[in-house]
């Protein structure tokens, strides 16, 4: 078994309020606090997680339009996905022959699973998180057309807007950003009203709306 890796974050390092999802328990840390938080990682090493967090934050930055990948916990979300069946290609057809140069209409035909794609790409991104933002953007532009980047972009969007059960979209910051209320038991009374005006019920997660507490996300599948 590999050495247990943790992502260690101090509130001051990212500035302001930090909200993390620690195995689906939400942890809040304010900038005044001197404590740091150690999040157990399932797939990434600590330095890999720092790089992914920094890259996701360039794809979906935290700025004056609202919170981004950092607040939503995207790096932790991706860590969980990679460690689970999706990261290992458990449900992908993986018989040979593979072909990395297949025409685009046939989708990704390569052999490497998401774990391998991330790990290989991360080798070339050592120290990425130390770069100034503009250099980070330049670096990402250089790899924009890679399989890795398209996965990272997709996973970042997933981590922004998934149900919080998956360790992303912490505190439903993603949903609040776009006015999506999450699953609702009923929109019956409202679906044919509010024409032309924003109707924004308070977001609720699947656990909150169903009061079912043992929902098992796919990344926990053994």
């Amino acid at each position: 078994m590999r050495r247990r890796e943790f992502l260690t974050l101090s509130a001051a390092s990212v500035g302001g309020m930090l909200v993390c999802s620690l195995d689906r328990k939400i942890v809040r840390l304010s900038a005044q606090s001197t404590k740091s938080i150690r999040i157990p990682l399932r797939f990434f090493t600590e330095s890999e997680a720092m790089v992914i967090a920094a890259a996701a934050a360039r794809i979906f930055p935290s700025d004056d339009t609202g919170p981004g990948a950092r607040e939503a916990g995207v790096a932790i979300y991706i860590d969980r996905q990679l460690a689970g069946p999706w990261g290992k290609d458990r449900h992908r057809y993986t018989h040979e022959p593979f072909d990395d140069n297949a025409p685009p209409e046939f989708g990704y035909q390569g052999k490497a699973n998401p774990q391998r794609i991330y790990r290989e790409a991360l080798k070339d991104l050592t120290g990425f998180n130390e770069l100034p933002a503009s250099e980070q953007d330049e670096r990402l532009k250089q790899i924009e057309s890679t399989v890795f980047f398209s996965l990272l972009r997709r996973n970042t969007i997933e981590g922004m807007f998934c149900d919080p059960i998956h360790a992303g979209n912490v505190d439903m910051v993603g949903w609040q950003l776009i006015g999506f209320p999450g699953p609702q038991m009923s929109n019956y009374a409202d679906v044919d009203r509010h024409f032309g005006e924003a109707f924004r019920p308070k977001p609720s997660s699947l656990q909150q709306v169903t009061e079912v507490n043992d929902i098992r996300p796919s990344e926990d599948e053994q």
């Binding site: 057809y93 993986t94 025409p103 209409e105 989708g107 776009i178 006015g179 999506f180 044919d192 024409f195």
Partner: protein, 589 residues
């Protein structure tokens, strides 16, 4: 291989067709029936806490697992095929209920001339107008034959809608281009959300004939002819790719299982992976002896049966016939053989993506709630001077707009796809974007077919099915014609910016188009051009029936489930009323 105690009937596949046939036979006869479903057991109550976009809509938890079995695809017979490594362009289901659990519930009838497409088109436009390598055929059954079965299927699911043609009388507000109906829909139309209402008003203003989409998501509490009740839809917007939280959407588990579970003469065996239909001689008078399958314990067993219904998904039907060596495989080079021919998909694309300056509240909706126009459907408009045949429906559905699938759709003026500028635009447009969809007919061509792949195998070592499929000029020209119409409607709806669909190029396995794949085991009037007769009975093996959209000679513009169920009822009547009284061919070859 262990031989199990024989039964009268074995049904392969526990989806809409297999379970409907099992329900009909179990409640109308004393036959012993076994349904073999290779996926997991499911019940209507399983979906209470499954409104999770990531696991269901993105990770596709209800679908067939491609790591076990998939298909390969190539564009023409001269190319090598690539496996579909992750499902995308169509999404077959797995588990009890099959794809009928995760569908949207859109339930139109086909237009009458679809069933006689070759004769009607030739009659009107002459054979010279048919595409050079077309394989268009008549079904061998007419709309009038099927009308009573359409009604039964609509009553089964309690379809919500408004009739546009009752016994020839056109009714404004319904689909005035539809075939005659003997009765109004069982339940009134669904509620119409804002985006769909905008489409209704704009298309009406432009002189079109908007109507509410027929929906299996019940608009009010409903009890069907079997005494099965379902509640009204609550418009949560988690239909497509999900099972219904409350069971308002008609699904095999909430519509058929309640009856099947009460019958003592039928059992549903899950995790039963059928590998072969065991049969004697493939000659003129073949006979199916039963099926061999891998059971839940991983053991291969033989289930003898007097009557076999092959009722798995379209492509699996064709594959099992080929793997079992039943019938002659289609051979493109000389046009001989029938198994695998007439493979069609559906011409499906977002014709116009409309960006508004006001919020649409699109999270609210239901899989089939919305408005359609059929002014450009089938032959509702004259094709004499157009460079294509047939057409399809334009629609504005409000099927629930979920963020992982939809975030990031921005007008063409936004040139970036990540970073601050993109984020700002994507947030701003998230709830101000709507798509006018198009669903049109895909004609059958000689060069689009299915056979067994020479290279790729499933987890048991059986060859995968290989699809040879690509679009032709008819589909491309249809698309070029329809897109400007959709753009015009989008503008009339008040859209500030509109992105037209970029046009059809190669068949793309990565873009979801619909799960409506047809053909491979088609029906027809003679064994030379079809695999099954109009009762879906195999021409050479009369105790084998092949149910589902594999029987469609070509695609029709409408969503296929209602027609699939109507054909299944037709077969059930023929089996109960005629076949069981004197087993044999229902139609002389």
């Amino acid at each position: 291989m262990k031989t199990l105690p024989p039964v009268d009937v074995v049904v392969i596949g526990g989806g809409w067709t297999g379970l409907l046939m099992a329900k009909e036979l179990a409640s109308r006869t004393a036959l012993s029936i076994v349904v073999l479903e290779r996926g997991k057991q499911r019940q209507a109550g399983d979906y209470f806490a499954t409104m999770d976009e990531l696991d269901y809509a993105i990770r596709l938890q209800m679908m067939q697992d491609p790591s076990q079995e998939t298909v390969t695809v190539r564009h023409n017979s001269g190319e090598r095929a690539f496996p579909v490594r992750q499902l995308a362009s169509f999404l077959p289901g797995s588990g009890v209920g099959g794809a009928g659990e995760h569908w949207n519930g859109i339930c139109p009838r086909f237009q009458p001339d679809c069933f006689e497409l070759l004769s009607r088109t030739t009659e009107k436009y002459g054979s010279k107008r048919l595409p050079e390598d077309h394989a268009i055929q008549d079904w061998g059954v007419s709309y009038d034959d099927l009308e009573p079965y359409y009604i039964r299927a609509e009553l089964l699911m309690g379809i919500s809608g408004k009739a546009g043609n009752i016994r020839g009388k056109k009714i404004e507000g319904g689909n005035v281009f539809e075939g005659w109906r003997s009765a109004e829909y069982p339940t009134p139309p669904t509620k119409i959300p804002y985006f769909s209402a905008l489409f209704r008003d704009a298309s009406k203003e432009l002189g079109y004939h908007p109507y509410p989409n027929p929906a299996a998501t019940a608009s009010e509490p409903y009890t069907n002819q079997d005494g099965v009740s379902r509640p009204a839809c609550l418009y949560c917007g988690f239909c497509e790719r999900f099972g219904c939280m409350i069971g308002a959407k008609s699904q095999p588990t909430n519509t058929l299982l309640p009856i099947i579970d009460k019958q003592k003469n039928v059992s549903v065996r899950t995790e039963a992976w059928v590998r072969r239909i065991v049969h004697e001689s493939a000659g003129k008078a073949g006979r199916a002896r039963g099926v061999s399958y891998i059971d839940a314990k991983g053991e291969e067993v033989f289930q003898p049966a007097e009557l076999v219904f092959l009722a798995s998904w379209t492509l699996n039907n064709t594959r099992l016939l080929l793997l079992s060596g039943i019938g002659q495989p289609y051979d493109l080079r000389n046009g001989t053989g029938t198994v695998g021919r007439n493979l069609t998909h559906h011409v499906s694309f977002p014709a116009a993506t409309a960006f508004f300056n006001k919020p649409l509240n699109r999270f609210m909706g239901s899989g089939a709630a919305g408005i359609c126009i059929s002014d450009f459907d089938g032959d509702a408009f004259d094709h004499t001077s157009l460079p294509f045949l047939r057409g399809g429906a334009l629609f504005a559905l409000s099927l629930g707009y979920r963020p992982i699938e939809n975030f990031g759709v921005v007008p063409a003026t936004v040139k970036v796809s990540w970073g601050a500028e993109w984020k700002k635009a994507a947030i701003s447009y998230y709830d101000r974007t709507g798509r006018i969809g198009f669903l049109g007919e895909h004609l059958a061509y000689k060069g689009n077919y299915a056979d067994l792949d020479p290279t790729y195998k499933d987890h048991l070592g059986d060859p995968l099915l290989r699809l040879t499929i690509d679009w032709r000029d008819n589909e491309r020209n249809m698309s070029d014609f329809i897109v400007p119409k959709a753009v015009e409607i989008a503008r009339a709806m008040g859209a500030k910016e509109v992105t037209p669909f970029s046009g059809i190029r190669k068949y793309d396995t990565t873009r979801y188009q619909t799960t409506h794949v047809q053909g491979g085991a088609i029906m027809g009037r003679s064994p030379e051009v079809s695999v099954v007769n109009p009762y879906l009975q195999h021409w050479q093996v009369p105790n084998l029936f092949v149910l589902g959209a594999s029987s469609f000679p070509q695609n029709a513009s409408g969503n296929p489930t209602l027609t699939i169920l109507a054909l299944t009822y037709n077969t059930a009547d023929a089996v109960v009323d005629r076949y069981l009284r004197g087993p044999g061919a229902l139609l002389g070859a």
